[in-house]
Point group: C2
Chain length 264, copies 2
Amino acid sequence: MTFQEKLDRIVKKNSSLVCVGLDSNVEKIPGKNSQFLFNKSIIEATNDLVCSYKLNTAFYESIGYDGIKFLKMTCDYLRTKYPEIPIIIDAKRGDVGSTNQGYVQFVFTYLGSDAVTVNPYLGEEAIRPFLKEKDKGIIILCRTSNKGAGEFQDLKVGKTPIYKIVAENVSRKWNKNKNCLLVIGATYHDELKEVRKIVGSDMTFLVPGIGAQGGDLRATLKAGLNKKGSGLIINSSRGIIFAQNPRNEAEKLREQINRFRISK
Amino acid sequence: MTFQEKLDRIVKKNSSLVCVGLDSNVEKIPGKNSQFLFNKSIIEATNDLVCSYKLNTAFYESIGYDGIKFLKMTCDYLRTKYPEIPIIIDAKRGDVGSTNQGYVQFVFTYLGSDAVTVNPYLGEEAIRPFLKEKDKGIIILCRTSNKGAGEFQDLKVGKTPIYKIVAENVSRKWNKNKNCLLVIGATYHDELKEVRKIVGSDMTFLVPGIGAQGGDLRATLKAGLNKKGSGLIINSSRGIIFAQNPRNEAEKLREQINRFRISK
């Protein structure tokens, strides 16, 4: 089963485009829980409300090999208990060709995840070890959610900004195995709309930036939903996992999204 | 002491611009040695011939938790036994602002390294948690050594290719703490020359691509050495660590470089 097929099934089953980002910063985890126990509690509270979980490696690497252990334990737990829910490793990796094989082994063989985020700066030729993984989702940074994203991403080649060239190249050249997705921040819904025009209806976008980063949900959905009312993975991390009641926040976000999907 | 000061001292002490890349691919390590024991044997054979060691995280992450342990053990060993030799973590990381703090903790607090490679695609605003580390070397990808590097790096904004804009921005805006370096592949010595013109004599370049990747050493030195006959960290990985006699290969590379430095 491909990543997209797995995603489509859970989107339908859970009626959800919500991805919960397990950005389990050790300085913010309440009590004396490990990152794994904290993640487990979030997963138990939200697994029927999500279309995926996203784990950002920075929060686990920060404490070294214990963090890598907790990252793996979380992936193992998800694969065993909720095998129908895709796991996204937000690693933003990218090295020269053969070196990437190490990252491929880390995210897909060792962690057993379903998708990974990668950085496009080195070009398709470098990223091939990822792209060859037909059944995995390869999620390429296109327009990132941060304030200063435009420093290079908005530079224009002729009349076309770099982020659009990334979208074009991924859509036309990188996506031979139909396993490419793009990252586009909710903080940039105009750019999201432009990219949807470029890549068409079939490609799914991973959209961070809702919640703590201030992205506009309604504008994001309007700009990015495809004809089937899907094609987006809407990530929320801090806004859900560190809330008083994570389940309530996940449910609220799911409902806000679904209300818009139906009205459309 | 800053990274540059530490580097200058060891360059002088060991008369060397050679960086040995500990790309300790578990599939290529001879015998039954762990990555740590393999690294230790390379370090023991070469420590008086180098200006730094570079550890690429991909080769350690590939085996998960154990690899991170061996990566840390190698850094601990170097810091204890050869504290004068800078450790470069080739991680090519880059995420949105605060998330990078996790990577900063990983490479500088946990591993105790002296420098890290980062990807510029998200812009300076995102990379600030790295740039704030005044005494560390922040090595930004400019022109990577891979064949397909030009897909985005050669795109022209007006008349200026992106890799030059990265060099300009780093030199003029990112380098407030004088802790920035650039990565430029030895496979692109013309580009190296152009970047040296842009950033001037003071900035050091980390240059991979000599050896297995086919970069031309003479042309690289001619294009990149600064007025003092330094300003380059010439990395060789596979060509040294998997050679019959790593010490001989490191020594040969050091001599080839020094012959050129003196003649210049």
